[in-house]
């Protein structure tokens, strides 16, 4: 009975991860505008082209008249005329007035099926004088269309398709925190009782947690490359993550240096308690008080909208459970290995 239950959670974790991989990579991204050319407009009639990524915002059979492109300057709106549309691009003619409230223009593209797409500061009009848009060209606020998109991931500027990494990077760190927390508790118990059993648990936890920490660093670095443009940047959260991984590597080095000294359990427990306190300070306390690029902390609140999206949630929660189960499985394997090795040594 116990054996069956064991295989259910182990197999269940793997199945959840398979589901996460399948859905994570095949769910389409909602369309989003990424660029507008030309980015500088003159003062007369101009043609602009907007480019989008993600799933197509225009379906077959849809004509330019179905779309409405509105440019916003300050709080006023400017009329345009959509001339051509393809699944990922849209051309529009715009009559640029000589006076504008601001020189930067934001674009709102109202589509029949994909809702309203937004591109901030899509283009600039350097030569415009400051003033209101002439009444003939101005527009009152049109009604927002209701999107009829299927199951799809939200578009975030900058992050775009790489949003799928959320299903890898974040749960990996969650799993790492979870298992390191387990190791911390085991080390505290080790200091109280001084028994080898707790030491085996702590070692297994750190060993597994370190693997997940390294994976978290690798996926994070990959993500940083796409969104921030560099494999590594100096940021409180990233520094903390690196130091944490180095710290726990130090734990394994300490154990290796002690060899079969019989004080290894207690010394390693002391080091582990210290390391976990540092982990909490470095990853949970310090980044909150300093400016950080990293989402979930100060400085990038835009990421919070992730939590509200149902389609992402439907894959993210299984990912957290799946990675957690995998991590715990690896931990139990390492723990049993430690116990067996101890058994053989002491016999």
């Amino acid at each position: 009975m116990k054996g069956t239950l064991n295989w259910i959670w182990k197999g269940g974790g793997i199945l959840l991860l398979a589901y996460v991989i399948l859905w994570g990579f095949s769910t389409p991204l909602q369309p989003g505008l990424v660029s507008c050319s030309p980015s500088q407009l003159g003062l007369d009639e101009e043609t602009i082209t907007l480019t989008a990524v993600g799933q197509p915002f225009a379906r077959d059979g849809e004509v330019p008249e179905d779309f409405n492109l509105v440019l916003r300057s300050g709080k006023q709106l400017l009329r345009t005329e959509v001339t051509a549309v393809s699944p990922h691009t849209l051309e529009a003619r715009v009559n640029v007035p000589p006076t504008l409230p601001t020189r930067g223009l934001d674009a709102f593209l109202l589509t029949p099926t994909a809702g309203t797409l937004f591109l901030g500061n899509a283009c600039f009009v350097e030569d415009a004088a400051k003033g209101d848009i002439p009444a003939a060209m101005a527009l009152s606020k049109p009604d927002d269309p209701t999107p009829a998109l299927g199951f799809s991931f939200p578009f975030q500027p900058n992050i775009m398709e790489s949003i799928r990494n959320l299903l890898w990077h974040v749960p990996m760190w969650f799993a790492m925190f979870f298992i390191m927390g387990l190791g911390f508790v085991a080390s505290l118990a080790q200091l109280r009782t001084d028994s080898a059993g707790w030491d085996h648990r702590a070692e297994a936890a750190v060993h597994t947690g370190l693997i997940f920490g390294l994976l978290g660093l690798a996926t994070g670095s990959l993500w940083a490359r796409w969104t921030w443009g560099a494999w590594w940047v100096s940021d409180p959260q990233l520094n903390g993550a690196l130091v944490t991984v180095l710290l726990y590597s130090g734990y394994l080095i300490l154990r290796a240096a002690m060899g079969d000294d019989d004080r290894v359990g207690r010394l390693a427990a002391v080091y582990n308690v210290f390391a976990f306190v540092m982990l909490v300070i470095l990853l949970m306390v310090l980044p909150r008080y300093t400016e950080s690029l990293h989402p979930g902390k100060d400085g990038n609140p835009g990421f919070n909208s992730y939590d509200l999206d149902n389609s992402l949630r439907a894959v993210f929660y299984p990912a957290v459970i799946g990675w957690g189960a995998l991590c715990y499985w690896m931990y139990t394997l390492r723990l049993r290995m430690n116990r067996l090795a101890y058994r053989l040594l002491t016999q």
């Binding site: 398979a18 990579f25 990424v34 900058n158």
Partner: protein
Amino acid sequence: MNMDTIMTSILLNNLEGFFFGSGKAHVVTGVALMILCGLAISLWRMDRKLSRLEDEVRSQKP
């Protein structure tokens, strides 16, 4: 950091257009699933081996 530089670098890297547009995402899905399968099988084998060794050690004890 300048937003424009980041945008340009992303468009040049062409993750969006090439990777997902050309259907290469299925290759990624396939590779990831294969890695997951390999991991699951190796963990399962290790689990079985450990159970066997545990039984052995238990039976050796008088």
